[in-house]
Structure formats: C-alpha cells, structure tokens
Amino acid sequence: MKEKPRKVQLFHTCIVNEVYPEVGISVATILERLGVEVEVPTSQTCCGQPAFNAGFHDDARKVARHTVDLLLKSGDPVLIPSGSCCDMISHQYHMLFENDAEYLKKSHELSERCYEFSQFLVDVLGITDLGARINAKVAYHPSCHLLRGLGVRTQPKTLLEGVGHLECATVKDQEECCGFGGMFSVKNSGISGGMLENKLKNIQASGANTIVSCDMGCLMHLEGGLKRRGSDINVKHISQILAEGLS
Amino acid sequence: MSSSRTDILTRLRQSQLRAVLPEPAQGLPDGIAPKKLDPTALLERLQAEFKLLGVETYVENSEEAVRQRVKGLITQKSILSWDANQLPYDAGQCLEGEKVYFGHDSKNDQATAEIGLTSCEAVLAETGSQAMISGPGKPRTASLLPYTHVVVIRRSSIVFGMGEFLQNFKSRELLPYLVFITGPSRTADIALVIALGVHGPGKIIAVIGP
C-alpha cells in the first residue's frame, strides 16, 4: 500500500479566503487531527474560473500559469475544499494550455496531485468515520463539478453517514444544479433564480435543517437564496460539519 | 444543382482538415457479439415484451389451432390481407367466405377494412418487434391502415434482436422496404398521456404458430 501523505498544500480558493475563512480553518483542523500537516502557499489567489467560464481564456491563462507554477514548487498533494475549483485546475487547465506544450505538461503533472477535500479523506487517507457526532438533518447538495467533473459521488455521503446522530434527508432532484455557475448567476439571473427556487423548494420539502456541500460557491448561492427567503436553514461545508461534530 | 454538390463537397474537404474531433478511443470491440437464446427462452422473452406492449398474444401448438384462432379473430369483419399464399400455416384458408381486400385493391377500399392480416419476416424477442418486409402479395398497408392488425408468426422466425436480424441483410440487393413494428401506434404528445392508434393500428394481435 502506498504511503499516506503527511503534508498537503491547501489551495483555499478565493471564496473561502474572502467570504468563508472559517471553512479554511475547519478543513485544516480536520487534516491536522488526521496527522496531516497543512501548508498554505501565501501567493495563491484564484483558480481563474470566472474568466475562463466567461470565455476570456487569455486572462484566465495568466492566473492559471501563476497557480501552476506556485503549486508545483512543492511535491506535496494539493488539497482544494471546492469541487469546482479542483475541477478547474485538474481538467480545465488542459484546455487553457492546449497550445502551450510546456504548461500543458505541467498542468497534467499538477492535476495528478489535486484532490478535493472529501475525495482526499476517503480515497487517499482511507477515512470513512472520524468519530464525529452532531444532531442535524442534512440535505447534501452534490455540486455539479464535484459530481460530474471529478466523478466524486459517494465520498461525501460516506463521510456524512459516518457522523453519529446525523440524518441525511432525501432531496428530490438532488443532483440538479443549484443555478450558481459563476457569471451565469449574474448574466442570466432570471434563469439562475428559477433554478435556485426549484432547488430550495426541494430542500425545504425534505425537512433538512442544514445544507451540506463540498463547494462554497454553491453554498454561497444557496445561503443567499435562503437569506432572501428568510429561511433558518444553515449551510455548511462538509469540513464544518465534521469539525463541529468532533468538538 | 451540380454546382451545389461540388461546392458542398469542396468546402467539406477543407472543413474536415480543421475539424476538432475527439481522438478515437482505444480498446473498444468491433461490435456487439450476437446473442443466441434457446427457442424456449426466445419465446418467453417475446411473450414478456408483447405483454408490456399490450399486444394480445396467442401461442398455438398446431397449424390447425392457428387457423382456428385466426378464423375466430377475423370472421364477420372486413379484412385487408396479404395474399393467401404469403401467410404461413395455410392461414390464407381463413379468408374464405370473408369480405377481403388485397394489395391490388384501391387504397380507399383498403382503408375501409377493420382488420389487417399479415405474417412477418421475423420477430425480435428483445423488443417485441415484427420485422415486416413488403413486396408482391405483401402490401405495407395491411399492417398500417386498419385499426386492428393480426399478425401470424412462425415460431422459427423469432430471433433475439435487431442486430441479429440485420446480419442477414449485408447485401443491398436483399434489402427491400423494411419496417420494424413494435406494439400499437402511439403518442404521448398531448400532456404526456399515452393514446393508441394515432395513425397506425391501435390494437395488435399476435398468433404464434408451432
């Protein structure tokens, strides 16, 4: 069996850095508890997805080069607490660099070392039960790029099922997009709002008191929608549920 | 006209060079291996599919029983039929004494028939499809115009699926007008409610002989 990594580089993502810093802390807390040292490269910024998705590949490429160079400095695995940003770096960078042999090679090298948080815990560390306990009825929202981009379907569920007293709610159309999609939610706000409404209706009908996901983009979107509707459902990154359940 | 042809083909040849298409996948088989089931299994599968499709099915174990069954189904009705010699088990005998139209009658007359009587080239057990080939003595209209379609099936003509059936049609010359008919004509266009007999038969009765 391959030796388990003892150190990771945390690519915390811009949303976590600016809006949800506490998620970064809970991610680090869990990892340290599992004996994994966390290093935070200070020059990291954003993965470049906003520009990339909007079609501005030249602008996205600048950021991508910076990110690739930064994360390849160390040989440690890269841990990304967001399915979408992880998919961007692991897969979409290849498209950005399809005419740049040097960086294409580097991006492939990097992608082999990138892991989303739940994926890292379950697939790399082999953890399924952290011994956490929390009273909550949870609606898990599988974010699209985590699910369909990275193919991470079971890992988050495995971790949630390992949490004592936690009940997983059955959500209708669970795998349907919440309508975030970055610039999409701004440029096509009407459609995005309709998707958000469907999603929240289904979650509310499930009786859950907490939405858990592995992507702060979706959670920011869902939380904003809940706030607007005056709902008291919480949103939490999966690391927060685990960290709270351990304290 | 020919200039459009040349123009399209010329520009296509240029486009092809610039086409961004996925690299061929490695390790794919050449095709799907044909599936062979024993006759009992084939018949069982066919009956199960017919049931799902709402095809009324009779399995008869003698030629005489087939003829009796067919006679019972068509008697006293107006019929649009394949020529008698195109029907297996001498089922053509059942047409005697009945009001029958054939392929050579006018379309308007054919359209008045209540029942269509045909056989078929083969049936596909996997999907419950009749493989119907038209030709002299075998008008397409018989399985299309009347509201009820009675099809007499030779048990030996049951094959597993379309792939298994089409293997025999490698050569162009062997391929006439062919249609696979799977259950009654249907639509879900109105509010996703299934309605039968939109244009073709709303009812299909299969008589499977020995």
Binding site: - | Q14, P139, I190, G200
Partner: protein, 464 residues
C-alpha cells in the same frame, strides 16, 4: 425577434409553462434512466456509437459521395442544398415536375430549419403536418418547443381549444378523443396526398438506406401512400452500415422516451419495385448543408454526432425552467445552444452559449457522449475573441486577469473591495448590488466578505 433575455423573462413569467416543463422533463429523464439500466452493455454501446459517428465525420465528404452512389443505385434521386432556400426550391421543383398538389409531412427538424411549410404554401401546395404534436403546432401557427415532444408546453385544455376552434369539432380535452379526431382528419389527407415529405434519422452509407423512426406511424404513411416521397436530411446523419444503425437504434429511443425502440422503425432502400402494391413511384433525398460545413471546420465539429434524442433537453435545468421557445430557433436546449450559433453564426446568437451553468447534466445523459460543456466554453471563447462581449464584462475580466495573477495586487484589491462591500451591507448581508451584481441580488442576498481573510486567520493561528 425579441432579444434572448426578453424571451427568457417571458418564459419565466409563465408559471404554467415552468410547471409543465418540470413535470414532463422529470418524467422523461427518469424513464431514460430505467431504460438504459436495462440495456445490456449500455456503456459499451454508447462508446461504440460515439466512435462510429466521429469516424464517419472525419471523412464526411467521402462518405457522402459513397452514400450518394448507393442511393442512386437504389433508384433514389439525390439533390444537394447549400441552404434552406435551396432545399425548399428543390422540393418545390420536385413537386411541380411530378404535378403534386397535396403534401403530407412527417416530423422533421431539417425542414423546420428551412421553414419548408411556408415555402410550399407560398408555392401553392397544400401542406399538412401529420405528427400529432406538429399538427397541433401547425393549427396553432406556432413552433415546436421540444425536439421529440413539440407541444410539451401546452396543456390538454390549450390543445382542446385549438382543435375546437381550428377544425370546428366540439370541445374536448380528452387526449384519446383528440387523438381519434386527428386520426380521422389526417387519414383523409393521407389518402388524397400525392407528395410525402419526411426527414431522416439515419442514412446508412453502404446500403444506400434512409431510416425513419416514429411512434405514431405517420412517417410510415407518408412514405407509403403518396406517389412521391422526398426525404430532407442534414448531411451529418450518416452511419457506415446496418450494424452501427442497430447501435444507434438501441440508444435512441431509450434516451429519448425510455422506450426500448420506437413503434415504427422504417428502413427504406428505394421506391416501389415491380410487383409492389404500395410505396412511392419516385423517391428523392435532399442533402442539406445549411451551415453544417462551417460547424465541421472548427471546435464544435463534435456536435454533428448528435442523434437528436432530446435527452439533454430533459436533463437541462435551464431548459426545464425556460422551455424551448426562449432559445429562439429550431433546436432548443443544450444542443440548440451549440447548433444554433454554429449554423447561424455567433453574431445574433452569442447569448445562447452563455445561458448555461455548465452543470454537465447534458454530457452525462448524451447517448453518444458529446462533451456539450466543452463546446459551450469554446463558443464563449470564440465570442470573446470575435469581440462580441460587452465592454463592461471585457474590462472586468481584463482587470481580473491582471489582479489575480499578481498576489500583492490581489490581496490589496480584496482588502479594499471587502471594505467597500461591507459598507453596502447591513448585518453582514448585502441586499442590493449595483451594476452587474444587481443580477445576483435580484433573487438572493449576498454575504459580505469577512473582516479577516482566511490567510490572516491562518497567520494568527500559527502565531498563537
């Protein structure tokens, strides 16, 4: 025509439309899942089908020449049309030469693309759509909203009213009764028609064969009763042989409606032969380009492998919310968001590729595994490179690129940006954002940036 976003707003205001679309697409999507789960080797068949389509496209020109040769050998006349106008003119000329007066049509996306009906009517022919949904569409003088369920957006009440008004029968909203009414009405038309017009689901290259699928049987009637049959097909609809045709059939209906196979799968290799009782005396195939050549020569060539099952529509949360008409052209949903700009150019259609959250549900359900999100991203890139992005977004992205590739500038901007944002907030939440951000706050609030970034917290934690 109204702007895309206006059409979207109209659609979103239509509560009934949204409910109907959601119910119908969910139903179809779950049927699809069950149908594919029960197909042995489904994944392998999808891979094979994809491979067959892609291989065929690599030499589409050569394949078309072979196909043409084999069609001719089967006694089928072949015509080539660069665009819709030319295709319509060809059909009209065929009709005139054969002295046809009355045409019956079975459902065909290619002729929707060319607006053939209007052209035929202008040329003095009677034309009747015979697919039940398309017939209602024609009666109501509207356009289809779904590739395989044209009137998915109408209630049975709507339909009852249209039928009642247009063909003077007593009102009923009973689908079975409405179907019977249509059967009787259309049967008369079939018996008197002298021209049958169809599309083509698959053209089999090595046998020179046209394949049509339908559940109602109208395609069979259109190709059986009239004395002339014209099939209008996009040049990309080829498969090498009957073996590949079998793979396509295995996945087409399962992906579309969850049926194992459609009720009628017609495999037509020529006009009526000596001794035949029925079938057309004359058969024509019109090969339609109409922008497909351009699509092949670029980044979205893969889309030409589409077999028009509509699964991506049913899976698409955007389509579920806005329905088909908002897409503004023949092909709605994810497929339309690629095909329409591809066929008609980005100039008037650049909003379509933007109207996706890139959730990837379409790619998952596509029977031939078309990478729809990749193509949407490529079209967005093309739009930007052609200078079609609004200036505000362009400058925003330029700024983003500059700031985010320089860590010091990023930190500085984030700090100041955060301060400004917090000024707009009350108790940590922003309820209304100016400019582009107004799109966000239209239906959700925005959490204000945190007072301390993660990196600051992390430093403090390290020190402690």
């Amino acid at each position: 025509m109204a702007h895309f976003l206006d059409r979207v707003e109209t659609a979103l205001r239509d509560e009934h439309l949204r409910d109907a679309m959601l119910a119908a697409t969910r139903d179809l999507a779950s049927r699809r899942v069950n149908a594919l789960a029960n197909l042995e080797n489904a994944d392998m068949i999808r891979d094979l089908a994809r491979q067959a389509k892609m291989t065929m496209l690599r030499d589409l020109a050569g394949n078309l020449e072979t196909f043409e040769r084999n069609l001719k050998r089967n006694g089928i006349h072949v015509h080539w049309a660069r665009d819709g106008k030319e295709a319509n003119r060809i059909v009209i000329e065929i009709a005139k030469a054969a002295k046809c007066k009355r045409a019956v049509k079975s459902k065909s996306m290619a002729t929707e693309e060319t607006h053939l009906n209007h052209a035929l009517i202008d040329a003095g022919l009677d034309v009747l759509e015979t697919d039940l949904g398309e017939y209602i569409v024609q009666l109501a003088d509207t356009t289809p909203s779904h590739i395989i369920l044209p009137i998915i957006h109408m209630t049975r009440g709507d339909i009852g009213q249209i039928v009642h008004e247009k063909i003077s029968v007593p009102y009923t909203d009973d689908p079975e009764k409405l179907t019977k009414i249509a059967r009787a009405k259309l049967r008369e038309a079939f018996l008197s028609a002298d021209l049958g017009i169809s599309g083509c689901n698959f053209g089999v290259i090595d046998t020179g064969t046209i394949c049509l699928v339908s559940n109602e049987g109208n395609a069979r009637l259109c190709t059986t009763l009239p004395r002339v049959h014209v099939a209008v097909m996009g040049i990309e609809k080829l498969v090498p042989s009957l073996a590949e045709f079998d793979w396509m059939i295995k996945i087409l209906a399962r992906s579309a409606t969850g049926q194992k196979i459609t009720t009628y799968t017609s495999v037509i290799s020529g006009p009526r032969r000596a001794g035949d009782h029925d079938g057309p005396e004359e058969m024509h195939v019109v090969l339609l380009d109409n922008g497909r050549v351009n699509i092949l020569g670029g980044e979205i060539a893969e889309i030409l492998g589409c077999i028009r099952c509509g699964a991506c529509l049913n899976a698409c949360p955007v389509y579920r919310n806005i329905g088909g008409h908002a897409y503004g052209d023949t092909y709605p949903g994810p497929i339309g968001a690629i095909v329409t700009p591809g066929l008609r150019g980005m100039k008037d259609w650049k909003e379509l590729p933007d109207a996706s959250s890139l959730c990837g549900a379409c790619r998952d359900v596509c029977p031939v595994r078309l990478d729809i999100p990749r193509m949407l991203l490529k079209l967005r890139q093309t739009g930007v490179e052609e200078g079609r992005a609004p200036a505000s977004i362009k400058w925003m992205m330029k700024g983003f690129g500059i700031v985010v590739s320089r860590p010091w500038l990023y930190r500085l901007s984030a700090r100041w940006g955060g301060r400004v944002a917090r000024l707009l907030a009350s108790r940590g939440w922003i309820h209304k954002l100016p400019g582009l951000g107004g799109g966000w706050t239209r239906s959700r609030d925005m959490r204000a940036p945190a007072a301390k970034s993660f990196q600051q917290l992390w430093k403090e934690r390290k020190r402690a």
